[in-house]
């Protein structure tokens, strides 16, 4: 394998690190913010399931991202991932949680513009459409779960201490599901653009399992996500944890569950195939933003509780970040591709 590939891949891994730092906060930020679970415990669980999700369920969304812009040169892929990572990192420095999905879409469109390739507007519309449907769906799921839990509370006479222990276990389980969904849905953002030039050989784990070259690539991306989770997600958790809205442990559980459900809906190949086979409208296999899902869920619950507890100021800033992040990634990508091609003499597109 050419060592330069690993150098180029480093930008994808940097993006993976940003995703881990940023999006892990969405999976277990509420659990840690509400002081239900220790950071180290839930971070370890999340890392394991991100890897499983990415390696075994990451293929569906990667295809959609590939359809948006077929980044066909390694140096181009490097810059696309780097621009997205830089955009996310800059937003992260402000302490705001942003969408890696949006940043990578912005960067791919930037590459398309630079390379003069046509952007597949149907796919772009499909992806941009999910930026609205994802938080909306997440909000609806959160409201349904909230109402169900409230009803359940009335019927059950479980002791508060037992209930808190159950909630704690529930948070760990849903964080695991959320991490699996994040790995499956978002790995395309991290290393999707490198799939065309993937040089890896199948990786054998004795007779137990074999990973195909793409899965090896996904594994590397997932490890980068895990490093991001461990090293930088605490700061973002401080924002998502409790500053958007003061939340009880049960609400924290609902938010993680709603987010995981939505991410799974947008990345489940089996569900997609089943809906298609049953002639029902399908849910597109698109890497959606876990940030948007979690904000949607927080707003959903905030609204059903009368809308008083929501910190609209912070939500306004986050939504601004959603517009700024893809534009910033597009701009950085466009400018840097110019330098990469003309100053460093690299082939950034075929």
């Amino acid at each position: 394998m050419d060592l330069s590939y690993l150098f180029y891949l480093s930008s994808g891994l940097f993006l993976g690190w940003s995703l881990g730092a940023n999006d892990a906060a969405n999976i277990f930020g509420t659990a840690v913010g509400s002081k239900m679970v220790r950071f180290s415990t839930i971070a370890a669980v999340a890392c394991i399931f991100v890897v499983i999700g990415a390696v075994f369920g990451g293929s569906g969304t990667s295809e959609t991202l590939g359809a948006l812009g077929s980044v066909n040169a390694l140096a181009g892929a490097f810059m696309v991932a780097l621009s997205a990572a830089l955009a996310v990192y800059m937003m992260l420095r402000t302490g705001l949680t942003v969408s890696t999905s949006q940043a990578i879409v912005g960067a791919i469109v930037g590459w398309n513009l630079y390379a003069g390739k046509p952007t597949d507007y149907t796919t772009l519309a499909e992806i941009v459409g999910t930026w609205t449907t994802c938080p909306l769906l997440s909000g609806i799921v959160a409201i349904i779960l909230y109402l169900c839990l409230k009803k359940l509370r009335k019927c059950s006479s479980m002791h508060l201490l037992t209930r808190d222990q159950v909630t704690r276990v529930g948070l760990i389980v849903t964080a695991a599901v959320g991490a699996y969904a994040l790995g499956a849905n978002n790995i395309a953002n991290v290393v999707g653009v490198f799939m065309k030039s993937c040089p890896f050989k199948p990786l054998h784990f004795g007779n137990f399992a074999t990973l195909n070259p793409h899965q090896v690539l996904f594994l590397l991306g997932a490890i980068a996500i895990c490093v991001g989770i461990w090293t930088y997600s605490r700061k973002v958790i401080k924002t998502v944890g409790n500053s958007l809205m003061r939340m009880s442990p049960s609400v924290a559980l609902i938010i993680v569950l709603a987010q995981a459900t939505v991410l799974l809906l947008f990345s489940s190949v089996s569900l997609h195939d089943w809906l298609a086979a049953s002639s029902l409208p399908t849910i597109p296999l698109v890497p959606v933003s876990s940030t948007q899902a979690v904000i949607g869920a927080v707003i959903g619950i905030g609204l059903i509780k009368g809308g008083r507890g929501i910190n609209w100021g912070i939500i306004g800033k986050i939504v601004t970040g959603w517009v700024v992040a893809p534009l910033m990634a597009m701009l950085i990508c466009f400018i840097c591709l110019f330098f990469l091609e003309n100053v460093f003499n690299q082939t950034v597109f075929m």
């Binding site: 002791h159 201490l161 037992t162 276990v169 442990p249």
Partner: protein, 219 residues
């Protein structure tokens, strides 16, 4: 892993039992106090009253022991910090109510105040209102762990009974000072009436904190 989970829940169950026992102590001290007061009105510092006062002391000691056990278990079982702080404060508040019952009963034993016949009815009324107040506080506090709606229902009762006890306290105090008793006697009775009425205030304080905990925990 499975054993770990089981032990986690069994530890919680043990803690739940201790908290339930703590509430039982409030109910017991209410009953013991009413009984002791009845005995005092009939027999003053008799042997029977001495036993009743001793019983109150035992309940108070048991309450203290339970409070300490709950405190250490709360930390051992690593409950959520937010809930842990609330439960700790609740248990301490409950313990203070139990202590007050014991202190007042002990004061009667030490000071042996003479309660003239014409004030006994009002005094009984005050003790009944204060006891009901503490009892309803215990029910509300116990309900906090299982049913938030009940907390609100019984909290209303506590507030109502506390207001009633305030009225009775004011009437009793006025009639004591309007009487032609010795000033020292008036002051002694006034202090004791105030001590009894303070138990209702303490119960009200518990409910104030409890309602805030309920709002915090409601989903």
């Amino acid at each position: 892993m499975f054993n770990l989970k089981l032990s986690m829940f069994s530890g919680t169950r043990e803690l739940e039992e201790k908290i339930d026992e703590m509430h039982d102590q409030v109910i017991e001290s209410v009953l013991a106090f009413q009984n002791a007061f009845d005995i005092y009105l009939k027999e003053k510092r008799s042997l029977k009253y001495r036993q009743a006062s001793k019983k109150m002391k035992q309940i108070e000691a048991k309450g203290d022991e339970l409070r300490r056990e709950i405190e250490s278990k709360l930390y051992i079982h690593n409950l959520i910090p937010d809930l842990r702080a609330d439960v700790l404060q609740m248990v301490e508040n409950i313990d203070k109510v139990i202590n007050e019952f014991d202190e007042v009963a002990h004061k009667f034993y030490i000071e042996q105040p003479d309660i003239p016949e014409k004030y006994q009815g009002k005094f009984r009324k005050l003790v009944k209102e204060v006891s009901d107040c503490a009892e309803n506080m215990a029910i509300a506090s116990r309900a906090f762990f299982r049913d938030f709606t009940t907390v609100r229902d019984y909290s209303r009762k506590v507030y109502f009974l506390e207001q009633e006890s305030d009225k009775t306290w004011a009437e009793l105090k006025q009639s004591v000072f309007d009487s032609d008793m010795e000033l020292a006697h008036k002051i002694q009775l006034n202090a004791l009436i105030g001590d009894v009425a303070d138990i209702a205030d303490r119960a009200e304080d518990c409910i104030d904190a409890l309602l805030i905990f309920t709002i915090k925990r409601d989903i």
